[in-house]
Subunit: 312 residues, 2 copies
């Protein structure tokens, strides 16, 4: 990495941008809103204008940069093509080619946002020192990223690492956002933790501190479980067992060195990862040497770090 | 591939060996018994003696060969070390180093037998033309091999591709050979097909042509299902659903181009693969472009082909 790079993480509400020095230090970060109207056609021009403005503010030009990395919320094919990005309003297009065109031909590389976040964590976050690792992001949904030999494994059609849509809750009758029934996301996203908690409460008449909470959140469920509320704990154990089960399946396929747990739900820390590890280990007895289960450390910045790493 | 190579597949009963010409043609193949007594200590000397004898018969010397590839039934670490090979009586050792020593320093490379078979099928069998593929061998057990970028992905501790030990039958009370409960192998190996058939028969009083068969085999179950026996068909559907489910999970992790089904049970052909595909596709709705589900073609020779490919 001899020159500066720019990392960009496009989310459904905001676009995060970061300038990284040649040594990999994050020198500046900022955000702009994601304008999704009219099929999201303003998003890439907005990014280009913001990049030009920031590079000028920093006293340089585009030619000072080796390139731009881009994380996007949806399946990204090997050549950067996306068939759709539902959350951005995008249909079939190649954002990395378009953005490169808007930035005077500056090289742009792109990937799925969860994959890119995993790369960021391996580069400068909780996954430092590992070259073969699977990251699971427990947020509104459950994202995932597979890093093999230090690089993103995006899969052949952009759904590599979509751990959240592994079928795990067999017999589930409610539909997942992906169109399936019984995806891991339905039990282990922030929404999933709440969903399992509500089911646990409904299936019992026992008292629980959760019963008094009007708008139950994953944080409530985890906080009350930590305080010892029996039903909250039972519910967290259920969600963690599904997570441990999914990761045990990944172990039997990829046998990675470690897992990295990120996203809002992961703020519950080792209270969460120790449970996931217990179920993972129980459900992968053939793996005599178990992978570690670690916590992500870059938070919302993982995406811009990983995007930068795509071009350095 | 400029010189001849030797491919060796060590099984619990016989050791298969093959000489491959520089162009990849199998020029000679033969077998020797696997002598497992006394911790299998005769196995590698037997192989070395047989290789020396055959190369002499073919009118050459060891120096005519670029190397020897070796497939072994157990987890093989990246450096060729095995902690154990239960079926051979082996404990912790490095067979590839030992065999190289016995063959005057001829290069020897090794891998897990199922992984090596997958490599063979990609090289000259049903997986030709694919560089990213997962093979599942439905035999006495369920083996698996992951091929990424044309190479075996063995995992960090030798359990990569152990598809047969993915946890799938949740709540299973019978124990799998691996020590776990509810592995795919318990439903989809030859033994697994029979096991599910016996359960299906026991759960119903309906007549079935299977009821008259004393020593039920997977072939019986599949043959009777093909003929239209309702309970046999129900049982095959159950096993295939577990298989399709496991492969759908692999798709959400690795997103390969194709799956390759091999082993004795795969002789049922497209009758089997079409069912697996139906369940796979149903349980991976996010993968809008589905991987193919193909049949292996090299049969019992896949191991020697793949072993040869390790050294050319």
């Amino acid at each position: 990495m001899n020159r500066k790079v720019i990392g960009i993480d496009i989310g459904g509400t905001t676009i995060k941008l970061g300038v990284f020095e040649s040594g990999g230090t994050l020198a500046a970060k900022w955000e702009i809103p994601t304008r999704k109207e009219s099929g999201g056609k303003a998003i890439l021009p907005d990014i280009a204008a913001s990049v030009r403005q920031k590079t000028a503010e920093l006293g340089g030009t585009l030619s000072d940069y080796a390139g731009v990395g881009l994380g996007m919320p949806g399946p990204v094919l090997l050549d950067g093509h996306v068939d759709f990005c539902v959350n951005l309003g995008w249909g079939s297009m190649n954002p990395q080619e378009i953005l490169s065109g808007l930035l005077d031909g500056l090289p742009v590389k792109s990937g799925n946002d969860a994959n890119v976040a995993a790369l960021g964590e391996v580069w400068q976050g909780g996954g430092q020192g590992y070259r073969n690792l699977v990251m699971v992001t427990l947020g509104t949904g459950v994202g995932g990223g597979v890093i093999l030999d230090g690089k993103i494994w995006p899969g052949m059609r952009g759904v590599g690492g979509e751990i959240g849509h592994m079928h795990i809750l067999d017999g589930e009758t409610e539909r997942c956002n992906c169109g399936g029934y019984g995806c891991l996301e339905q039990a282990a996203s922030a929404t999933g933790f709440v969903r399992i908690a509500k089911r646990t409460l409904a299936a019992s008449t026992r008292p629980s501190s959760l019963r008094g909470i009007a708008e139950l959140s994953a944080k409530d469920v985890l906080d009350e479980a930590k305080k010892g509320d029996a039903l909250a704990l039972e519910s967290v154990e259920t969600s963690c067992r599904y997570l441990g089960w999914a990761l045990a399946s990944v172990t039997m396929v990829l046998d990675p060195e470690a897992y990295l747990i990120g996203g809002g739900v992961s703020k519950a820390g080792t209270f969460l990862t120790e449970k996931i590890k217990r179920y993972h280990d129980e459900l992968s007895p053939m793996a005599t040497k178990k992978p570690k289960i670690l916590l992500a450390t870059l938070g919302n910045d993982a995406g811009i770090y990983g995007a930068a790493k795509l071009v350095c």
